[in-house]
Amino acid sequence: MANKLSIGRLLVYAALALVAVYYLLPLYVMLTTSFKTLDDIRQGNLLSLPQAWNGGAWAKAWASACTGIECGGMKGFFWNSVKMTVPAVLISTMFGAVNGYVVSMWRFRGSDVLFTMLLVGCFIPFQVVLLPMAQLLGYLGIANTTTGLVLVHVIYGTAFTTLFFRNFYVTVPDELVKAGRIDGAGFWTIFFRILLPVSGPIFVVCIIWQFTQIWNDFLFGVVFAAGESQPITVALNNLVNTSTGVKEYNVDMASAIIAALPTLFVYMVAGRYFVRGLTAGAVKG
């Protein structure tokens, strides 16, 4: 019996290892390639380790690779993305928190309808809003700016963040709000002093989700930002598609990793809270 079980176990582990290798292989190839020289890439095999670890491609990707006619590397676009993502994530998360608080704890006539309409926002494909959004940004005079992109992402993200917070707050007993009201606390006091302190898990979920979505977004970036204000995803695309003679795979790989690094970092730091937040229903107390 024990023997049988261990064979079963072995099969499971083998399958898991296989899948892990399958998923990690591209990352491995990217990493090793980014540290190879161009000669090394041409001579060696895709899976071989670099003959000498060389950080040149990384330096070039960061500071001097060409994206179209500009040759300033990913550096500027990386900060563009940071300047776009951080405010967009924070603002949409705060909006979501307040919206979720209202539709779960301060139901009013039509609040369910409002919430349903917000939900529909989650299902509207990006492409549908491109033209009207471009027009709106034009009217507001923030077309082709990072501010414009922040606005677009806040509008789009609020539907999701509201859903997250609403679903979290419906698991919090509404007697907490009643107790607060009887104690004399108002709308904002209850929100900041009673509910926000227990909202940690859902904040983590929301921030990871929004950060990944906004950082990785390509379509809005390519449509609503031009030249100087482009986010890194668009720059990466331009870099890979810019060919001046030789195709520099090592620089492409390094650039791609640079573009993916922040989301990786957020997952590593907050990943376990992500799972915890998704599964944490009840607030004990």
Binding site: P173, L176, K178, R181, D183, A185
Partner: protein
């Protein structure tokens, strides 16, 4: 402290459901009012309306001399203890108790003094720096009460505060709440679905069903003189026996005839004969509590009607044994002394004390006599 009066209060939801249909209740300063009824009877809604957490569709609620219909909860001078305790999870016990005082901008020294006084009274001083999640159910219950006490309101509102506790703790906390009431002489409105809590705690009980107060009175009055079949069945455990029977006249006296498979007996009715005259020959529901059908030793009175009955089931509870027999094809519960109880299948002599028996109209379910 203040009196409370509820005048013709109604609650209709937007979708047209009537939850409360004209509630009239008034209690004096310092009285303990119980709102009791099955779930969905509107008792919690009524409590929320007293608290100001729910709007009043029509009618008036007065606390003391003040009409509070349009006041927000914080201006009504009330404090509430919730079923889930609703302790603020991120705050320590001390902060939980002081939160309402801070919001009201009381001076720091005064708040500290109040928190310490309340904590001492409830014996939770050693818990003051803990978080609610580190407390047991009973301790949370105390903190919730402490939070209410600290505010020193005119009226305390309790929303099923004991229903989340285990049976033993529930009985202990029940006594403590009663003790607190006796000491503070505070006005309390207490919602429960548990009729034992209602009987043991209340000065006044309002038995509610379907948004209507079925009966409002003192516990003993409601127990002895239920206004209708619902109240009679709801209050008392085990509940009152309802035996379908016919009113008969024998020897110049009115009575009801009850039979089991051994034979029949006519139980004389103690009520006013003139009042019952129109019911002779008609079907009624004869209500008699389990303790009024017992063994001869427990009854220790001569001359009561008695009958040998076939025992179906016995349930020893310790102090008494419950004996189930079948009278007029209805299961009837009797309360007997443990040593007098016979075994299932045997015949047992049961004595009927009809002095407190009641009669109901089977159609309207209202009390006849």
């Amino acid at each position: 402290m203040a009196s409370l009066s509820i005048d013709n209060v109604c609650k209709t939801y937007n979708n047209g459901t009537d939850v409360l249909k004209g509630i009239d209740i008034a209690i004096d300063d310092g009285q303990f009012l119980i709102l009791v009824g099955p779930s969905g009877c509107g008792k919690s809604t009524l409590l929320n309306m007293i608290a100001g957490l729910d709007d009043i569709s029509s009618g008036d609620i007065r606390i003391g001399e003040r009409r509070v219909n349009d006041l927000s909860p914080k201006d009504r001078d009330i404090a509430m203890v919730f079923q889930s305790y609703a302790l603020y999870p991120s705050m320590s016990v001390r902060q939980n108790i002081s939160f309402g005082l801070e919001i009201r901008k009381q001076p720091k020294a005064e708040i500290d003094a109040t928190v310490n006084r309340v904590a001492e009274m409830l014996q939770i001083t050693h818990l003051l720096d803990r978080k609610p999640s580190q407390l047991s159910g009973g301790q949370r219950q105390r903190v919730a009460m402490g939070r209410a006490l600290a505010r020193n309101p005119s009226i305390f509102l309790f929303d099923e505060p004991l229903s989340n506790l285990d049976a033993k703790l529930r009985v202990e906390m029940r006594t403590e709440i009663k003790l607190m009431h006796q000491r503070l002489k505070s006005t309390i409105v207490y919602v429960t679905h548990d009729q034992i809590e209602a009987m043991t705690l209340g000065d006044r009980i309002a038995v509610m069903k379907d948004g209507i107060v079925q009966q409002f009175g003192s516990p003993q009055d409601i127990y002895d003189n239920p206004a209708n079949l619902f109240v009679a069945g709801f209050i008392g455990s085990p509940s009152m026996n309802f035996i379908p029977a016919t009113v008969v006249e024998s020897g110049g006296q009115l009575g009801v005839k009850v039979c089991d498979d051994h034979g029949c007996v006519v139980l004389p009715l103690p009520h006013d004969k003139a009042k019952l005259a129109q019911w002779v020959g008609k079907d009624v529901i004869f209500g008699i509590r389990p303790e009024q059908i017992t063994d001869a030793r427990t009854a220790h009175r001569e001359g009561l009607p008695q009958m040998d009955c076939h025992v179906k089931v016995i349930e020893p509870t310790g102090p008494d044994t419950l004996i189930f027999v079948t009278l007029n094809d209805t299961k009837v519960c009797c309360r007997a002394h443990p040593t007098e109880a016979k075994r299932p299948g045997d015949a047992m002599q049961l004595v009927f004390d009809v002095s407190k028996a009641v009669l109901f109209d089977p159609k309207t379910e209202m009390r006849i006599a």
